[in-house]
């Protein structure tokens, strides 16, 4: 589904991503682990196509289409969606209006069963939203897009355990159970036990230094030694497909 090949990315003239390779198959869930500022969000924004992220070399393929130079909205229309870590405020535009404008089937998204109040839908997008509200808003928007592949950028940050449980239930029922592929970016790893990913990758200084089909292996090492020791780890492995 997603095939990132030898990707090198600069931001403001500085190389952030160094030769990234990543393959995610249809319906798979992958976790991308790494400390703050390791380049995880840069990879997310580059896959989504934000122009600030300059691809120096390499390619990004999605469902056998080379999307390396496709505009953002074209990628969105192909089925790629990103839950932003820090979404911007859109003043004077109600969340309900935004959902109406972006919904794929042009019908209002069915919010029954979601922990949403009418008041929340009538608020301006991301204006005064708490950390948890921002995450819920991101996920609802993504559900409206009916995506095939979703990047969750630190979706667990700033959430208490109750809201994290709620959100993960929505992600499980509305996305994963419907065969949507997921790349979950996290530095704390709280969501790993919820998602039980098919593979986990560790990113350090803009490089994927470890990939494992058993997410517990790298995660337990990280818990034991911290990210700073990952570079010295003798047990690290790299997936070839």
């Amino acid at each position: 589904m997603l095939d990132v090949r030898n990707l090198i990315v600069k931001v403001n003239g500085k190389t952030i991503l160094k030769n990234i390779n990543l393959k995610i198959k249809e319906g798979e869930i992958h976790a991308l682990l790494g400390p703050n500022a390791s380049g995880k969000s840069t990879l997310a924004y580059t896959i989504m196509g934000l122009p600030r992220y300059e691809i120096i070399s390499g390619e990004i393929w999605f469902r056998d289409i080379n999307i390396t130079h496709l505009p953002i909205e074209e990628r969105a229309k192909l089925g790629i969606a990103l839950a932003f870590q820090n979404p911007p405020v859109i003043k004077n535009v109600k969340l309900s209006l935004l959902l109406k404008r972006i919904s794929r089937d042009k019908a209002m998204f069915d919010i029954k069963g979601l922990p949403l109040s009418h008041d929340f839908m009538e608020r301006e997008v991301n204006v005064g939203f708490s950390g948890g509200e921002k995450k819920i808003s991101e996920i609802i928007q993504i559900l409206c897009l009916k995506p095939a592949f979703v990047i969750l950028d630190e979706i667990d940050s700033g959430l208490d355990i109750i809201n994290l449980n709620r959100l993960m239930k929505i992600i499980q029922e509305k996305l994963i159970d419907n065969g949507v592929s997921v790349l979950a970016i996290t530095h704390r790893g709280d969501i790993l036990q919820f998602l039980d990913p098919d593979a986990a990758h560790v990113m350090l200084n803009g490089e994927i230094i470890c990939s494992s089909k058993d997410w517990r292996k790298p995660w337990e090492t990280i818990l034991r030694c911290g990210y700073e020791k990952c570079g010295e780890c003798k047990e690290r492995e790299l997936l070839t497909d």
Binding site: M48, G49, L50, P51, P71, I72, E73, R75, A76, K77, A81, L82, F84, P87, P88, V89, I90, K91, N92, V93, K94, S96, L97, L98, R101, I102, R104, E122, E124, Q141, L145
Partner: protein
């Protein structure tokens, strides 16, 4: 023609210089202003001289439905000189929609409208004023509002269709406990626009807010000057925001606050910028095109109330 058509269900319709419809309702006196000038001594004092054209709306009893007026230009080179008067009696709450427009794109019309609004004690008026003109039209609209003790005004003016020249001037005098809110939203393209808003907080505990939203694009120039003067111990705030969509356009915004009362609190904020790329990218990541994203942001920026 749409706004003219929709105004047919309204109270006052004037096309060029001809009144096509005049519909009073219970508790409301609606007259052509020259006629009102001759008929009512009480309203004469509000006009400097006998008006040529325009309307007078005198709301004497509580009304259930909003009132609406429409003044249109449909012939070439028409020069309207309107003098309107709106009086809301004590304790009455009223709503007025006012639409002024040109029905064809190039009529080279001139629309000069002067509206005086008298809000008696504890009365309230919500006024929504929409303009839609052609690219060759010149427009000057002035409102003068007197708010007696405890009166409330919410005034919203919006003009997003490009015209040749636009001047919007609003002045308000606020008595004790009175409250006024001027909101002006304009989108200018190939246009010279001038906005002048002044509020005088004359009575204690009066409250005035001036909110400007200006978008300048394609060789347009917007100059705004907003001023709040506190004679009494009131509160006032000026909020001016501008968006510049092209390098050949201009926005000049001068907020001014002036007090001679130590109990007054006056504040202002002003900013001019461009549309945030981050917002555009965010909306594009939801599948909207760049134009759709910009339109949504602009409509939100100019909106009177939240977009539904």
């Amino acid at each position: 023609m749409k706004s003219v058509e929709s105004a047919k269900s309204g109270n006052y319709l004037q096309i060029d210089h001809i009144i096509k419809k005049l519909l009073s309702s219970e508790g409301v006196i609606l007259k052509p202003s020259p006629e009102a000038y001759d008929e009512f001594d009480e309203v004469k004092k509000y006009f400097d001289q006998k008006p040529e054209e325009g309307y007078m709306i005198w709301i004497k009893k509580q009304i259930k439905h909003p009132l609406s007026t429409c003044i249109a230009i449909s012939s070439p080179k028409v020069h309207q000189r309107l003098n309107n008067l709106v009086i809301v009696e004590s304790g009455i709450e009223a709503e007025l929609y006012s639409i002024c427009n040109a029905v064809k794109p190039i009529l080279c019309g001139i629309h000069e409208g002067h509206t005086k609004i008298i809000l008696k004690e504890n009365s309230s008026l919500k006024l929504r004023h929409f303009h839609k003109w052609g690219t060759s039209d010149k427009v000057k609209t002035t409102s003068e509002v007197v708010l007696e003790k405890g009166a409330t005004l919410f005034s919203f003016y919006k003009c997003i269709s490009p015209l040749r020249k636009l001047r919007v001037e609003s002045n308000a005098l606020l008595g004790p406990n009175a409250s006024a809110n001027f909101e002006v939203s304009i989108l200018a393209k190939n246009e010279e626009a001038e906005l002048f808003e002044t509020m005088i907080l004359d009575g204690d505990n009066s409250n005035g807010v001036i909110k400007l939203r200006m978008i300048s694009d394609s060789n347009a120039s917007i100059v705004s000057r907003s001023k709040i003067v506190a004679n009494g111990a009131g509160r006032g705030h000026i909020d001016c925001m501008g968006l510049l969509l092209s390098n050949n356009s201009i926005i000049s915004s001068i907020p001014e606050i002036f007090t001679k009362n130590k109990g007054a609190i006056l504040t202002h904020e002003a900013s001019i910028g461009k549309i945030s790329e981050e917002e555009i990218y965010y909306l594009r990541s939801r599948g909207l095109s760049e134009d759709e994203a910009i339109n949504l942001i602009i409509t939100g920026f100019l909106g009177e109330t939240l977009l539904r």
